[in-house]
């Protein structure tokens, strides 16, 4: 029985740029979830997350170059595009970000967002300055390593470490002041 080889992200990216719809579909299905969740977690807005996810892949369709394997993994490259798009929108639409309330009552994603937006952890994350929030989301929620996050943010690993340290410190203060910090306990490993 022939062994099935899972194509790498890089192979799929190349195929997609060559017009291979199957490669595009595979790459999209592999990465739409993590990219959507990144934008959602960093903005709190499903509408923004949807637009960012779409725009990341539109950017891939447009660009004939852009990904340089020597500069990091595809995960960093894609998160980097999503980060730039999300950051631009968050800064531009400060105070005007559409939340889940626009969605219909039967939308499970809207239900999830409505429920979680009342969660003090998310509220605390969204209250962080954006440069700390991005690192907390990338490293602690998306599961990127320091090196991957540094490549996505185009900064040094040391910068990632210090921003994560400061961001978590501020988050801890917010959570403790709300007296909601959950007791340390076994929780599932993070997923991107």
């Amino acid at each position: 029985m022939p062994e099935t080889v899972t194509p790498s992200d890089h192979d799929l990216l190349r195929g997609m740029r060559g017009g291979d719809e199957a490669a595009f579909t595979a790459l999209y299905r592999r990465w739409q979830g993590p990219l959507f969740r990144y934008a959602l977690r960093v903005s709190g807005s499903p509408a923004l997350a949807e637009d960012v996810t779409q725009e990341v892949f539109m950017a891939l369709l447009r660009r004939n170059e852009g990904y340089d394997p020597s500069r990091g993994e595809v995960s960093s490259y894609l998160h980097g595009i999503a980060r730039n798009l999300a950051r631009r929108r968050i800064e531009r639409e400060r105070g005007h970000l559409p939340l889940a309330d626009e969605a219909g009552p039967d939308d499970p994603l809207a239900d999830l967002v409505r429920r979680e937006r009342t969660d003090l952890v998310w509220e605390g994350i969204l209250g962080l300055p954006l440069h700390y929030r991005e690192v907390v989301v990338l490293c602690d929620l998306q599961g990127l390593s320091y090196e991957e996050a540094a490549a996505a943010l185009a900064c040094a690993v040391g910068t990632v470490r210090s921003r994560l340290h400061r961001g978590r410190e501020q988050l801890g203060v917010r959570l403790r002041s709300a007296r909601t910090l959950p007791a340390a306990e076994a929780v599932p490993r993070m997923t991107r």
């Binding site: 579909t25 509408a47 949807e50 725009e55 369709l61 531009r92 639409e93 969660d119 994560l164 929780v187």
Partner: protein, 215 residues
């Protein structure tokens, strides 16, 4: 290991990643011997726990199926892509909201008087053109709008690109000299009284982005 060294490692220790086995053992031994660092570690572990629980609760969130459908249409019809690729796909829901927000912001720039400290002096606020400016261009635009030229604007917002703002206003204000310290300028002599004139760049949200003193 000192407490200072422990502080450098405590986040990695609480996250259970990025720390080698030897460093981990050393850090844990320090926490057992130091109550303050043990408490610090517990705090970080609780933050980790909260974040991981939140990550798990939102792990199922995905883009709606319409996004994939729109992208496949764009892939099949690359001719439909314009320079920024947006023409072939659905209009962005948030983009529409952004346009509405931008319109509202422009109106707000016209009718809402930004917070003032002290009375405005002789000039009305000058509205800068939308989408202007690098920080240097802000200076130029402000000068072009006829406001003072005595000193450069100093940013009041960390890392923000003013070009992303929909509109800006330059507002002339008077501040009590005693307010200088609160703004990070060398504190005025407490014996000094009176006011200083300043020009403040205000975004459409009413938040001050930059300031300069004109006398």
């Amino acid at each position: 290991m000192s407490c200072e060294d422990f502080e450098d490692d405590v986040v990695d220790l609480a996250r259970g990643e990025e720390l080698g086995p030897a460093e981990r053992t050393e850090a844990l031994a320090h926490a057992e011997a130091c109550l303050r660092c043990a408490a610090r570690l517990e705090d970080e572990r609780a933050v980790t726990s909260g974040l991981r629980a939140f990550a798990a609760r939102t792990a199922a969130a995905e883009a709606p199926a319409r996004v994939e459908a729109a992208l496949r249409r764009a892939l099949r019809d690359p001719e439909g892509l314009d320079a920024d690729g947006s023409a072939a796909v659905r209009p962005s829901r948030a983009g529409v909201l952004l346009l509405l927000a931008a319109a509202a912001a422009i109106l707000a720039g016209i009718v809402v008087v930004p917070p003032r400290v002290g009375p405005l002096y002789d000039r009305a606020p000058a509205v800068l053109p939308a989408g202007s400016p690098t920080s240097a261009a802000v200076q130029e635009a402000a000068v072009g709008a006829g406001v003072g030229e005595n000193s450069e604007f100093v940013s009041l917002s960390y890392g923000e690109d003013l070009r992303d703002l929909d509109s800006l206003q330059v507002v002339s204000v008077e501040l009590p000299r005693t307010a200088l310290g609160a703004l990070g300028w060398p504190a005025a002599d407490s014996a000094q009284t009176g006011s200083v004139k300043a020009e403040v760049i205000v975004g459409h949200d009413g938040v001050a982005r930059a300031i300069r003193f004109v006398d």
